[in-house]
Subunit: 314 residues, 2 copies
């Protein structure tokens, strides 16, 4: 692994970008020495998160947004954090293929990331890839996640503006979405709004937002769209711009960037500390001793963990 | 907080169980002294995980299974790990209400848990609640999770048998399910199989299972069901029994219990170590020093975390 790849990435070379992303996904240890250098060239891209249920049309919206950005001459990087098994084909893959029409455009980079196997979790890998694309000069970076489970909370700690995509046919299951979504969503898109019941969903979102409240004073925008018909896309783009303007007022963006950095440092720090701590208790036999005791229920796991911490000298 | 509640829980007192669960959810510090004692009385319940997309009919299946267990005189505890915002009403709440028909039955305990706010994450809180129900004498414990995202991987490290519920109308989106699901699923239920396309989904699951492979030698069972019509429920119950018999052979269950204990200890240990480590670097100003440097991009977050670890003496 030479430093040449760093230079190539900084010049925007797509093949080098792809190569380093693969190394990051595979936890290749030397990748970190490159990420360290690249980090110094980050912080310029505008970062947008796009989250929603499978089938909500996130990919189609992103596809249209890429077009919008490209018309303005803005380069775009897309990271689809994909819980897909990549085993079977289907609609999602179809969306990816649709997006790939931008593949011949040098100003567009699209990458799916599997959520499997990465130590430190997908959040870490995603941060790393965002940083790589940022360093490679992509002006806008869109991170797409499936918004069910814990992941969508992570996305807000990576991006500046979070777009939540909902559909009327999921109206009945709005309650299955985490309240967290209402806390992190800066823009709510009601996609497939031509299916009807969009007004009902809008009412439900408005109500949920009122109950949840916002600490930062931003009033989330709700947009009715029909991505397949190219309806509402310019409104979404405008919404992102409005939120960006809002963040640019009163030093909110620097604050957001700082908290993104903090999460980054804290995550890496936690991984190192945990690795060292486990190494310590494992090498001294402390770990196996307490595990055996817990298995036999001679001690409870809380006390065992406390004792391990003491014995390891933390 | 007196020790009286421990005695009451060990006698199966439902109100005390509820009370302690609430304390665990709220991170009440003294709850842990009670959990420590209760842990010594755990390990008797059989633990079943039930995971699937919102709307797949998990709750209906559980509702029918409760009936099946009760007919055999087996007591049941259900923990629905619920990403719900509890803000709006709808089908999910409907399912819960349906399940609550068992509420007057002393042998059944049903509890929804919110995924919000718990330090150490929902996995920790769920483990704690499983242990409480186990100590309270519930013979079967069913943990229900929404199987999109990272959560379903956690469930397999809490339970003995994992049931994955899929529906034919999600066939197109099978690829959006994590490959992890195919690794952890011991039983696959094709619910709403009367909607058609069940054979297609069965074929896809079989194929996915073949590609994924299993390390432990268990051959996952695929069952077509229609929970609303009470079709396939006894087959699911039988499937769980078969897997239980399989685990009981050749010391597999003790091994599984050991790895559950290990995850438990490791998780608590990690939390304590991370808390201590952050306290150390924060109190000495190390943390804020490096954060400032990273924010100004005078240093990258990887190096910052490494330096912090060194300065804190880990």
């Amino acid at each position: 692994m030479s430093m040449e790849i760093v230079d190539l990435i900084l010049k925007g070379d797509i093949r080098s970008v792809s190569r380093l992303i693969s190394l990051v996904e595979d936890n290749y240890p030397d990748a970190y020495s490159l990420l360290k250098i690249l980090y110094m060239h980050t912080g310029r891209a505008y970062r947008i998160g796009m989250t929603g249920m499978p089938g909500s049309g996130k990919s189609t919206i992103i596809d249209m947004m890429i077009e919008g950005f490209r018309e303005k001459g803005i380069s775009v990087g897309v990271i689809a954090v994909d819980p897909s098994s990549h085993i079977t084909s289907g609609s999602l893959l179809g969306d990816r293929i649709r997006m790939q029409r931008h593949a011949i455009d040098e100003g567009v980079f699209i990458r799916s990331m599997s959520t499997r196997g990465h130590l430190g979790g997908i959040a870490r890998a995603t941060r790393d890839v965002v940083n790589i694309l940022d360093a490679a000069g992509k002006e806008t970076i869109i991170v797409e996640t499936v918004g069910v489970g814990q992941d969508e909370v992570d996305i807000a700690s990576i991006v500046y503006t979070t777009v939540v995509v909902l559909t009327p046919d999921f109206g009945d299951e709005l309650q299955t979405l985490k309240a967290g979504l209402f806390e992190i969503g800066d823009i709510f898109v009601i996609n497939k709004s031509d299916l009807g019941r969009a007004d009902e969903l809008e009412h439900d979102i408005t109500e949920a937002l009122e109950i949840t409240g916002r600490k930062d004073g931003w009033r989330p925008v709700i947009i009715k769209a029909s991505a397949l018909k190219d309806e509402g896309i310019s409104e979404i783009m405008k919404g992102v711009e409005m939120h960006r303007d809002y963040l640019n007022e009163a030093e909110r963006l620097p604050q957001k960037k700082e908290s993104i950095s903090e999460e980054e440092v804290k995550g890496i720090f936690g991984d190192i500390v945990m690795k060292e701590a486990l190494k310590k208790v494992r090498s001294r036999g402390i770990y196996s001793k307490y595990l055996k005791m817990v298995s036999k229920r001679e001690i409870d796991p809380y006390t065992a963990a406390e004792e391990m911490t003491k014995e390891a000298g933390f």
